[in-house]
């Protein structure tokens, strides 16, 4: 993961697919993310409260899913400082059961536009149980 591995603009075109990844989220991961991020909202760790407000189960922090999805981009470019813009819509929660299997989020990405100054836009797709959990997930990357 040195700077030398950054893909060159010449090798990239609209439609170039980035290596996809899957992430397994377990309750312990949510607790850890809560501590690291400072977001201790109870719906991310207390099943009783989550269900009382109409959720199917404890749900992952949207920001956690957002952070995992961009990993497809940062692993591709090596230097995460090259992500200059990143935005998502949170369209569906990711329920995380209290078991060893957890929830699996699949992320794929492809170059969607070539921009000026060696920048490209990557569109990301993140799914759980076959359904999209992020909408309009786009990152602008400096190659």
């Amino acid at each position: 993961m040195s700077a030398a591995t950054v893909p060159s603009c010449d090798e990239v075109e609209v439609g170039t697919e980035l290596p996809g990844r899957s992430f397994v989220l377990r309750r312990s991961d949510l607790v850890r993310y809560a501590g690291a991020s400072g977001d201790f909202n109870v719906i991310h760790w207390n099943e009783q409260v989550a269900r009382s407000v109409g959720l199917p189960d404890v749900i992952a922090h949207g920001m956690f899913t957002m952070a995992l999805a961009v990993r497809v981009v940062t692993d591709w470019v090596g230097d995460p400082g090259r992500v200059v813009e990143y935005g998502v819509r949170f369209t569906r929660p990711v329920p995380v059961p209290d078991d060893d299997d957890g929830a699996t989020v699949e992320v794929s990405g492809a170059v969607a536009a070539l921009l000026d100054d060696g920048r490209v836009r990557v569109d990301l797709t993140a799914t759980w149980a076959g359904q999209k959990v992020l909408g309009r997930a786009q990152a602008v990357v400096q190659l």
Partner: protein, 149 residues
């Protein structure tokens, strides 16, 4: 009670400086299960052209989430936080956040709209160093669910 659109443009005083530490960045990267050396190793980060270890692209939310309490708890807006859902999030970086930064956040209520019985508030958080260098701007759209949902 819909939120009054006349509050658009309201800006809150800059937050107290947040000191970004190397161990905090490592802790955050650990929570993501991300072993990218840019988040952990000074030499690796320097080899990529950064003066110090950098933080993951969504790390600024740690600061902006904290600073946005000024808006969420603004009595004049009267937001019921138990009805708030995070709808959208976006970051535009001038440069990555890095270890050693001392950062302040200025929160502005950029947009208020109502749709389908819900209020949607977009806040803009401008993150700068205490010396005034722009680092990143974050936009968060919060959906305040109406009474019937």
């Amino acid at each position: 009670m819909p939120i009054d659109p006349s509050f658009e443009g309201r800006t809150y005083p800059p937050s107290e400086p947040y000191e970004v530490g190397l161990e905090k960045i490592r802790e955050f990267a650990d929570a993501l299960g991300d072993d990218n050396p840019a988040y952990r190793d000074r030499e690796a980060a320097r080899a990529m052209g950064h003066p110090d270890v950098i933080a993951p692209p969504t790390f600024p939310f740690v600061l902006t989430f904290r600073a946005s309490r000024a808006l969420i708890e603004d009595p004049e807006l009267g937001i019921d936080y138990s009805r708030v859902v995070h709808g959208e999030q976006r970051f535009a970086h001038t440069r990555p956040v890095r270890a050693g930064d001392s950062l302040t956040v200025t929160v502005t209520l950029e947009k208020v709209r109502s749709a389908g019985g819900h209020d949607m508030l977009t806040s803009r958080s401008d993150v700068t160093t205490v010396a005034g260098e722009h680092v990143v701007t974050a936009w968060s759209t919060l959906v305040v669910r109406g009474d019937d949902s």
